[in-house]
């Protein structure tokens, strides 16, 4: 009986303080691999950590494929003073997404789309230059992209390549603009504690818009935000 009561007790508040680290559910051999790849800490559940571990430790693309992706990505978005595609982790993202979007629910994206892209791009470079993309010069690759990078090319034979190129372009840009350097490049200013007190005056002027006085007279007075709210019985704020 004592034992049964104990097991009920463990459920009560069972998970408080339970540290949810991936390290508690893996073997010591795994740990060596894990320490190399694990740099993410973003509030995962146990099940999510297990999935992440699978995604981060498996291998989808070959070295040649990854080098090809890097070469393509650098032409889609060349480096600038903020950094390069490599600095933005874009090649790594291709590898992760290929494994992450690998279930039937995600339509085997890695195989059917990302790897398929490399196959199709290599077919095009072989037809034109008799070699794979990885062997091509930047100029040769650009000549291939000129045919498949724009949405107005109606050549039937190129439609699959155009669709796949759009995915590659999307992956490269989304990877870049969700990276630390890409967000700096974009200039995004938020994701940090601050006090919103309306659109800056000069911006309002730029757009010839203004705040309706009646509207903003009822908005929060940020100098009184720390005063505890009190109301009269009709709901008028007193503080």
């Amino acid at each position: 009986m004592m034992k049964r009561r104990d097991s009920i007790k463990t459920m009560i508040l069972g998970s408080i303080g339970a540290s949810m680290t991936l390290k508690s559910c893996i073997t010591s051999e795994d740990k060596i691999v894990l320490d190399q790849v694990w740099k993410y800490s973003y509030g995962r559940t146990q099940d999510e950590l297990k999935w992440d571990y699978k995604v981060l430790t498996g291998k989808f693309f070959s070295e040649t494929e990854l080098l090809t992706i890097e070469k393509i990505a650098n032409i889609i978005l060349p480096p600038n003073n903020y950094g390069s595609i490599k600095d933005a982790g874009v090649v790594e993202l291709f590898e992760i997404i290929a494994k992450d979007f690998s279930t039937p629910a995600h339509n085997e994206y890695g195989e059917k789309v990302l790897r398929r892209g490399l196959i199709v791009f290599n077919e095009l470079s072989n037809a034109l230059y008799n070699k794979d993309i990885i062997e091509c010069s930047e100029k040769e690759i650009k000549s291939i992209f000129d045919d498949i990078a724009f949405n107005d090319n109606e050549d039937d034979h190129l439609q699959e390549a155009i669709r796949l190129f759009a995915v590659y372009r999307g992956m490269v840009l989304t990877g870049y603009f969700t990276s630390e350097i890409g967000i700096k490049d974009l200039g995004y200013k938020g994701n940090t504690p601050n006090v919103w007190d309306g659109v800056p005056e000069e911006i309002l002027k730029d757009y010839s818009v203004s705040y309706d006085q009646e509207w903003i007279s009822r908005c929060v007075d940020q100098s009184k935000r720390n005063d505890i709210a009190e109301w009269d019985e009709d709901g008028n704020l007193l503080t």
Binding site: F150, I183, L186
Partner: protein
Amino acid sequence: MEIIKSKKEYDVIVVGSGAGGGMATKILSDAGINVALVESGPYFDPANPDQQTQLKWPWESPRRGAGTNRAFGDFHMSYGDWSLDGEPYSSVEGTDFKWWRSRMLGGRTNHWGRISLRFGPRDFKSKDFDGLGENWPISYDDIKPYYDKLDKLVGVYGTKENMFNEPDGFFLPPPKPRLHELFYIKGARKSNVKVMPSRLSVLTKRINNERGICFYCGQCDRSCSVYGDFSSSSCLVIPSLKGGMVDLYVNSMVNEVITDKNGRATGVSFINKENGKDYKIKGKIVVLAASACATARILLNSKSNAHPNGLGNSSNLIGKYLHDSTGAGRGVFIPELINRKIYNEDGVGGMHVYSPWWLDNRKLDFPRGYHIEVGGGMTLPQYGIGWNPNDFNKFFGLRTGGYGDSLREDVKKYYGSTVYLSGRGEAIPLKENYCEIDPESKDKYGVPVLRFRYKWSDYEYKQAKHMHDTFEEIAYNMGGIPLGSKPTKEDNYGISVPGEIIHEVGTTRMGNDPKTSVVNKYERLHDVDNVYIVDAAPFVSQADKNPTWTIMALSWRTSEHIINELKRQNV
């Protein structure tokens, strides 16, 4: 099979820790009542660094926040979405329903939009106005005192507007509009659409010394680590645990309400998800708050000699009248907003302005209204940004696609130039729309699962059509270009799949007549005098308001009723 029983008898067992269960737990335990709170998911506290996603950057997720694991992206704070491994559900052929389940302390209140609207006088008596659906057995006056107390306890910003069906409350002051919201105000007014400050349960001003105030990161959907927004776990359950009257059971999935030979509830049985074992705990009163469909499932699975077709189901109405809010949306490109000067406009986690229902349905070809929500701005980049970097070139007669440095400039050029308009409307509850036990399927714990049958009627399609006509008019009036094409009849006017808006209600509706309703006006089963339901299952109709505020006000009212019953020893 081993079943582990506890000797202790609780005064009240509360099943589920979301809006309704959290409120019941607080009110009951504050009154010195002994409560067992049974939650199917893990403990959750957004202040716990191991669980926190607030203020994370996209690169802190290996997939840059993509939605592989969580439907709304890696940082979204819901454990569980429209699908859960090993816990299936199905729909009758030719129909579709998507069932959202958040399995965690606080449930869906950790991810919701914090839109906190009172139902108005008309919303409780809609049948009097259009002859459709059913009236509630209570009126606005019955619930008003609880809305008032709720505003003060939990906090909601807004403004007094003196509109008949959008009752005012005890509001904190709203934040000033963002730039794209000023464009919306301009466009909406030109279209004669009412527009006013939104009403969100976000603390723009301090309400007590236990909770922090909003620091404008725009991430309420990640659940606030300083409790600057409302979630049941942060603001009701965790504080209640400190009072010593609550035993919290986590990862404990209730599958049945246990009854004695007379059919009265004596407790609940649940499965501990960590060890797979079955447990029973005893209580004088059982309060269900597992969410509308999960509560219906528990009741329908609680069969006994006294209740052969499910607990409290003599009316055969459990699961019936299931309904969700309608939804439709349209993106709008604002050419004037290209090449923006960048400043921090994260604001609160949601809109600063919105449009309540502004028309008279007697002059329209559909019976119930909708409100319009506004999204947009220079938001935190997530997986997907830049995917079609220069699609809007087509509006300027320029080529789309390409490669090279110009793409970088295109992404910057169009960043923050899109506004998104969403309608959320009231559907007519129908008996033909329901959930029921699927005789063929069980979940991984061996418990029978739900099967849904839900179809919109012409009322909802016509309403969605009206939404799209309105979006287009407002889009042009704000100087914008509506994106894509307007959905037609063949596209079902772009209406959401039932369940997608995550406002499902109505499965144990409230009424005075036990033949046509499942619970009475205090949310107690007509058939069993010690089982109450405080989630959205008792809703007679889901107004064009978000349901949370009404779930909580009703739960508070029911909890006071339970306290009185216990005092009078009626239970």
